[in-house]
Amino acid sequence: MPLHVTDYTWTQTDSTVHISVPLKGATAAGVDIVSTEEYLKVHFPPFLFEAFLFEPIDDDRSSAKVGNGVAVFTLPKKTHKVWEHLMITTDDKETKKEIRERALLTQEQKLSAELKQKAEKRQAEKKYALETMMKLEKVERDRIQQMKDAEREKTTAELAAWQLRQKQEAEKAQQNQNHQIQRNPDTKTPGSRQTDIRKNKQVHSDAEKKKKKIRAQLPPPRTCGNIPVTFTPRVFPTALRESRVPEEEEWLKKQAEARRAMSAELEELEDLTEEERNPDWLKQKGDKCFSNGDYVGAVNAYTLGIRLNRKLPALYSNRAACHLKLRNLHKAIEDSSKALDLLTPAVSANAAARVRARVRRGSAFCQLELYTEGLQDYEAALKIEPHNEALQRDAQIIRDIIQGSAGQNGTQ
């Protein structure tokens, strides 16, 4: 229960009422004042001062001074007359409560109205600030644009002037030429005509000499030369881009792994190293052995590669070449046939490989003296690569042999 303050003092004139409430030690900050037209409340815990005013006062013009341990209120009256008491003389709690509630309500309304006003004012100020900023920036931009336009006009004018000058110079040069042409026919007297003709001839020969000189001044065309070029190797036919390099490496790795994938099941191969499980590596090993002359080693490498991956035609084809060198002709025929089977979609990409396989099979047939089959293979190879002279020569040799042996058979 708050303690009611009763030792307040009040004075009045016709137009105003002055109330002085002792603050009993409370600071100015801790004092809460509610004042409306008919009610005044001063609350500084634990003290409370309430005044249900006798007559209504003008709340807008009222003022309060809080300090020095006392709160002084100056309330101008609405109607100028002397009050008998400060407060209304009812002890009725109900009316008091009503008045209190009304007062609080009006206080709330006043506060909210004030807040709204403040917000609106701030909004309006912001808008104004923004508009002025925009105006300033626009002015700046227009200025720069004007400068740019002036620059542009100046340069176009300069360009037009330069063009005009060029034209004038061209015209002048043209006029000079015309004058020179006109000058020659002017001299018509016979004596001078002779000299004139001679002069013309001289002018002509001078011009010719000049032309010859110019032609001679140019060095002769360069002697033909050829510079061989090797490129940084690149698997893909597309251009090289740094941002695509990781994708490309991924793709290549996956391709290599797909070719190795078949080797996973065979248990005997656990002894082999990682490299030896890779059919590509084995093919390269085989190629190296072949070029060193180690044909048996090459066959072994290719065989292991084939065990790992039966679908690589290159391995069969190369093994056929090794067998040819080792004179295992039947095996050579088998291997090159297998290679050709694997190269069945006959496209231009595997044309070179097919030609090689055919040639190997053809030579195996010929060494077995099955010349007709050999010729068949050579002619198929020629169909793929008609411009290969070595093939043409070999095919011709085989044809001759066949005809020669047919002739022999005939005479026998």
Partner: protein, 358 residues
């Protein structure tokens, strides 16, 4: 406050919309005319000559050819004759007289596939020596032609037997400071840049810049080779200082990443060899200036000379369209005037100001 207008400005003076795909545009020397080369939608080539008049480009002549034309150069013609050498989609090299465009002055089947790039040297009063034209093609070969010799190239840079070919995307002449010396620089789609010496008929230097090379240019064709700029895919370009060649390290270089897209062209200003403009795949142009280092070469640990690369600073940039700008040519007569064409079927004449103070 450093005024933004003290920098060089790129001003679009004329914009002309064309009804065909234009691949190349070149100024006709000593005139205010330029040539546009391209192809119509019906698959035939076109050559148009425009003149700059009163703020617009007037069409003076138009000629249709059998095959689309990819590139052209005036580099090998004399100033009086002004013949343009063009390469087309079929691999043919033609030299045309602009007064009589029905029949070419010189023609040869240069390559098996499209001629991607062409350059000429020895004409226009620039450089000594024979006029020569170099063409680079999709078939991986680079060939040098002399207009006085029919059918056979004067030099042929082709892949070794059995080598898979890479497309040659760009070629440039350089180092033509006397009668015999010439160098050809070629850029390929796998990032290779090769410098061929035509005097010794050998490969002088090669490197790989890890991105397909779109354009190479020496800063001047007719001096001892000074700088080489190579632009590539992925928005990068490299500037090589070619005065000092180290036996193993080659040339020193500085590289910049700009444009955020392929850099299609680089062209040096004819009046100042340290200023160049790059044209990008996003339709923008950047104007750069190269600054030399305090010492252009120094001794490395073995005592051999190695070059020191300088630095490149951006002077100005401008965005002209959304489509790549595929060709750019500075006018040799008026400083700052250039013509550029892009894949948005427009050709633009630009004026770049304040290049004297840059």
């Amino acid at each position: 406050m450093s005024s933004p207008l003290s920098k060089p400005q790129i001003i679009a003076h004329i914009q002309k919309s064309l009804n065909y795909t234009v691949f190349d545009s070149k100024w006709i020397p000593c005139s205010a005319k330029f040539v546009c080369l391209g192809n119509f939608a019906r698959g035939t080539g076109v050559l148009q000559i425009y003149e700059v008049q009163h703020g617009s480009a007037q069409l003076i002549k138009e000629v249709e050819k059998a095959k689309p034309i990819k590139c052209g150069t005036f580099g090998a013609s004399s100033l009086q004759q002004r013949h343009i050498a063009t390469g087309d989609f079929d691999g043919n090299l033609h030299i045309w007289n602009l007064e009589a465009l029905d029949v070419p002055v010189y023609t040869t089947k240069a390559h098996k596939e499209i001629v991607n790039s062409i350059d000429g040297v020895g004409g226009l009063g620039i450089g000594d020596g024979a006029p020569e034209i170099v063409t680079g093609s999709r078939d991986g070969t680079v060939k040098v032609w002399d207009p006085r010799q029919k059918d056979l190239p004067v030099a042929n840079m082709e892949p070794v037997e059995g080598e898979t070919k890479r497309d040659c995307w760009t070629v440039a002449f350089g180092h033509a400071f006397n009668d015999q010396d010439r160098c050809v620089c070629a850029g390929y789609d796998n990032g290779d840049i090769k410098l061929f010496d035509l005097r010794n008929m050998s490969l002088r230097w090669e490197t790989n810049i890890k991105n397909g090379v779109c354009c190479v240019e020496f800063d001047r064709k007719d001096i001892n080779m000074n700088k080489l700029v190579a632009t590539s895919l992925e928005g990068k370009f490299h500037v090589f200082d070619t005065r000092t060649q180290h036996p193993t390290k080659g040339f020193a270089s500085v590289s910049e990443k700009a444009h955020k897209a392929t850099i299609w062209q680089v062209r040096h200003l004819p009046q100042n060899r340290d200023i160049f403009m790059t044209a990008g795949g996003a339709g923008n142009l950047h104007l750069w200036k190269y600054e030399y280092p305090a010492q252009r070469s120094k001794k490395d640990s073995d005592g051999a000379d190695v070059g020191v690369a300088g630095s490149v600073s951006l002077l100005q940039n401008a965005t002209l369209s959304t489509q790549p700008i595929a060709s750019l040519d500075w006018s040799p007569d008026k400083q700052g005037l250039c013509v550029c064409s892009g894949f948005d079927q427009t050709v633009r004449v630009l004026i770049v100001t304040k290049l004297n103070v840059a």
